[in-house]
Amino acid sequence: MLLRLDKVQRHFGGVRAVDGVTLDVEKGAIQGLIGPNGAGKTTLVNVITGYVPFQAGIAWLESDQLTGLPAHRVAGLGIARTFQNIRLFKDLSAAENVIVGMHSRRRDDTLAQLGTLPAFRRDHRSRVNEAHRLMEVAGLDPGEVGHRPAGTLPYGDQRRLEIARALALQPRLLILDEPAAGMNPSEKQGIRELIERLNQDGLTILLIDHDMQLVMGVCTRVAVLNFGRKIADGTPQEVSTDPGVIKAYLGTGSEREVTSAPGATGVEEVAEEVRAAAATKRSAEPATAILEVRDLSISYGSVNAVRGASLRIAAGEVVALIGANGAGKTTILSALSGLIRPSSGIAVFDGLDLTTAKPSAIVRHGLAHVPEGREILGRQTVLENLELATWARRDRAAATADIATVMKRFPILAERKNMRAGTLSGGEAQMLAIARGLLAKPRLLLLDEPSLGLAPQMVDEVFAAIEEIHRDGTTILLVEQNALRALGIADRAYVLETGQILLSGSGDDLLHNPAVRRAYLGG
């Protein structure tokens, strides 16, 4: 056994985040760890790696006891990890990030650094070479990205760089926390191949991910957590047919949830539903628009993130903006809410010029933005987060009533109203972010990646909420990585590729268009 956990426990106040988990990871295995959002997967990883102290229980890495060790010692013993929200050293170059990872196994060279210049150079070059080699292992081109600041790399490359940095520790165990989150199918396939290749080279891997295809396809064993307890542990086959797992993981809900059971692709079934739903919906661009964007271009320094994008949204529509990572979706939303300024083009929302108006004026005019990653205030309670959203309003009584209304829409928020927002699970945090957006009483709501990192059941709940908000008369512009789900509720959609609008039309048209599948769904 490489890693052994014995009744590991960690509670936060009344929340039993990890509640007596026993788990063995065999040497050379790819061990999966799955469970619905809030099941305690990341907390378990944080306990093992020394970020959060053990409350009870013991863990060993072979003969080394991990209990009570600080995080840097755990890393030194040979457990490398990546983070759910990528944590690279953003200002360091990609190669330097990997060099930092070599820290714990280079003890001798601080004094050599002060020696002669040639020795210093030689030493530095050998490290850079090793960093480049590790980047190649992780599937990065060192010549292309090695010298670039890590924060400027595309999202997928950042994920790979984090893995390269972890490899620099020469770990005995590599823990990957949602390495495929937010990736399109072809990128996911790349990550899958990387994981398999690393494992073939003898590395033991503990993989946490929401993508069932990935976990079930790549793992030799899978453990399932729910409410901090391990409810199943076995081969992917055993786990995916375990009724307890299906119930815990997928909930007892609509037909769709059952058809997209673990192991099944689910894609075709959903696509079928979407086609049926979309057949009844409009497809033409509206004549009168509440939001009109024409020839919008946005650059970050020398990078042209958006190049001449045009789109129109009529009052009452749900419009999806889809496209692969780095296509420019979030950039467009940020420009619409005034957070960044376009270099050219027009964006008008109901008579207000969005390219010059202040963000606060844009919100007052009725355009609210729920950002990617939620951006809630973790140290404030749920209620305080909502109250802050009404801070600028004079009509206190009406504001209080509005808070009560959004809490009725999201009952989980009423239940958790006195908890710190930072302790919410991903799905709950998304609900809070949407609720906060609604308090601005928007006529147009911009939603950026509401399903990012959520378990399927939670995704259903979030999308149900979006549909309800739409039924109440709010126009919605939805940016989504999960194209099938987005097309399922959208009247129309625009497909964005490398900063340009590639196609637009009804969800149905787009689903049948082979160009879309190639551009977005990865063929």
């Binding site: 010692r73 983070f83 050293f89 953003k90 930092v100 714990s104 650094q113 024409r294 083009g345």
Partner: protein, 304 residues
């Protein structure tokens, strides 16, 4: 302007007539390096003048009462400042950001009110006379010291220690995951910073015939922080350039007279707005355009 003209037309005369200024630049550069080390490791420590005082008073008191050689005095002052760095650093390094800044200001105030201004041996606030000071002969050791310090730090920042500091500055949690003992490396930076400040203090006390207790308070810490911010704390050269710039400023703008504070204030504001990374920083010589700065008008077709 006479100052700059002389620098280029008569460097030898400049050297002999501005010896004290050049020494002061070098000492301020060492102080700026001391500030650089803590900033580079992500700690907003403002304790430098406190450690400087430890170095200065130790060196002068030893020369007054023990009559030991100059080198021994300065070495002892430097070592004692380093020891003080450990004593102060262990408790305060749990703090971050502005809390650390306030705790280190507390250290300066405590040292100043409790030791420098109150004890008979330190002159009870009247300062100390240092009959052994040697402003003219001091310039060579001071300049060599500065060069050695800058070279030494440059090497450190490019090595394992420097990467560990950068990692801590950018993301402590990620640094831990790379096996970096964060508290330890923070303490190393803090103590190294104290050592450099103590050394600068010891050197400075032997350039002036008088050790002025008012030199080691909060205004000095603000000055040193300004060196680093103005020059840029992304690499070793930045704070040194900041020190050079701000120390010579009163001489370059002699006409400004008492308004020199206004001039340097305006320059600092301009740098912060247009070069937030400092004079020497990433991005070559590019300037940042603030959001409120007028932008070129884009000729746009009218909306439909």
């Amino acid at each position: 302007m006479d100052f700059l003209i002389q620098l280029f037309t008569d460097p030898v005369g400049f050297w002999s007539s501005h010896t004290l200024l050049i020494s002061q630049i070098a000492i301020n550069s060492i102080l700026a390096s001391s500030m650089f080390v803590v900033l580079y490791s992500g700690q907003l420590s403002l304790a430098a003048p406190g450690f400087m005082a430890v170095g200065a008073y130790t060196a002068v008191l030893m020369s007054l009462y023990l009559h030991t050689p100059l080198a021994v005095n300065i070495a002892a002052g430097t070592a004692l400042a380093g020891a003080a760095g450990v004593v102060v650093g262990l408790p305060v390094l749990r703090l971050r950001g502005v809390f650390l800044a306030i705790a280190t200001i507390g250290f300066i105030e405590a040292l100043s009110l409790g030791v420098i201004l109150n004890l008979p041996i330190t002159g009870e606030g009247l300062g100390l006379k240092n009959p052994d000071a040697d402003p003219v002969g001091g310039i060579y050791p001071v300049l060599i010291s500065m060069a050695v310090v800058v070279f030494f730090l440059w090497r450190l920042t490019k090595g394992r220690l420097g990467y560990a500091w950068t990692a801590i500055r950018q993301d402590e949690l990620a640094a831990l995951s790379q096996g970096i003992d964060v508290p330890r490396y923070k303490l190393i930076a803090f103590v190294l910073s104290a050592v450099l400040a103590g050394y600068a203090g010891g050197l400075e006390s032997h350039l002036n015939f008088f050790v002025d207790p008012n030199e080691y308070g909060v205004p000095r810490t603000v000055q040193v922080l300004t060196f680093a911010v103005l020059g840029g704390s992304g690499n070793v050269i930045g704070p040194v350039v900041g020190a050079l710039f701000l120390t010579t400023l009163p001489f370059v703008f002699q006409q400004a007279g008492d308004y020199i504070g206004v001039v340097s204030g305006v320059i600092l504001i301009l740098v912060i707005i247009f070069r937030p990374q400092g004079i020497i920083g990433r991005g070559g010589f590019a300037f940042v355009r603030p959001r409120w700065w007028p932008r070129p008008q884009v000729s746009a077709p009218s909306t439909g």
